[in-house]
């Protein structure tokens, strides 16, 4: 695991370490098969097309889980995620399987975020953040917010 982040290390506007994600049909099927959420809109192109959504698209809940990973990776083992919310503003489609190894340009998604507020409440050292999933064109398809508690160097 990365080294522990402390409350004092973060300033308003600090960036959360971004995480790249490459959504593939495989990732969608892993999520569907393992979660038991078997909505065919996420693995059957014809079904998704009939709903006017072109082809099988990324599960909103999967993008939410990416955002959880963004935050928990940043805060480390000693940090605690207190609250997370997100909205599914735009649909994301997995990349085409042109080759098994390399994504085409614009087919990498980024999970990103910024600290917006630092404060101490009930003896907890808290940080509010804006977080989002960004598609290859730089559009925020899944914006959200998170509140985390971090350890403080002041107490040990």
């Amino acid at each position: 695991m990365a080294k522990q982040l402390y409350w004092e290390d973060v300033a308003d506007g600090s960036e959360l370490t971004p995480i790249p994600k490459i959504a593939t049909t495989q990732m969608l099927v892993k999520w569907a098969g393992a979660s038991g959420d078997l909505n065919p809109a996420h693995y059957e192109d014809t079904f998704a097309a009939a709903q006017g959504l072109n082809r099988a698209f990324v599960q909103g809940q999967l993008k939410r889980a990416w955002l959880v990973q963004l935050v928990t990776t940043w805060i480390g083992d000693e940090g605690t995620l207190k609250k997370l919310s997100c909205q599914f503003r735009a649909v994301d489609w997995p990349r085409f399987m042109a080759s098994l190894t390399d994504p085409k340009e614009g087919e990498t998604w980024w999970c990103k975020g910024n600290a917006t507020k630092k404060y101490v409440q009930d003896d907890e050292h808290l940080i509010d953040c804006d977080i989002w999933v960004e598609n290859g064109k730089g559009e925020k398809t899944t914006p959200g917010k998170a509140t985390v508690a971090l350890p403080s160097r002041g107490k040990s």
Binding site: A34, L62, T72, S85
Partner: protein, 160 residues
């Protein structure tokens, strides 16, 4: 049924509680599907040395699979059917809000209870009518602790 009647009927309604045992295997499958390599979810020795003392589930895991029915919890289906009858057949996902109180550990038994918090018909400035609804699910573990809450917002639009 009118939207107001839907509100009368559904607001405050509580769904069947669902019991889930949190298994190590399903935590692993979840983290694997997200492609999240955090050893707290996979590595028992590492997790034992952490402040949690054992493998934990990623926040947001709850009792995976989170959806007991083939698609949606029955309470939500009933509400959506009611709104369809009231002339609001088109559902938009209004986003989700999660609150985490206590970590979920492998072996936990979680009881989740969904409740319809609110159903409200509103008219936008442009004159479009919409219905906003919120379903809150509370997750309680075997010790009686509330481990998390999830609020799902629904937006229903009138048919064409």
């Amino acid at each position: 049924m009118e939207a107001e009647e839907v509100k009368q009927k559904f607001a405050g309604m509580v769904g069947e509680p669902i019991v889930n045992v949190v298994e190590k295997g399903s935590i692993k499958r979840y983290a694997y599907a997200v492609e999240d390599p955090n050893p707290l979810y996979y590595d028992e020795e590492y997790a034992a040395r952490s402040r949690y003392g054992t493998v934990i589930a990623p926040p947001g895991f709850f009792g995976w699979p989170a959806k007991p029915g083939p698609m949606l919890p029955k309470l939500m289906l009933d509400l959506l059917n009611g709104l369809k009858e009231a002339g609001y057949p088109n559902l938009l996902d209004g986003g989700i809000e999660l609150e985490f109180m206590v970590p979920i550990r492998a072996g936990d038994v979680l009881v989740s209870s969904p409740k319809i918090m609110d159903v409200n018909e509103r008219t936008t400035k442009a004159g479009t009518k919409m219905v906003f609804g919120t379903i809150e699910t509370t997750y309680i573990n075997q010790n009686g602790d509330t481990v998390a809450k999830a609020r799902q917002n629904l937006i229903c639009l009138p048919g064409a």
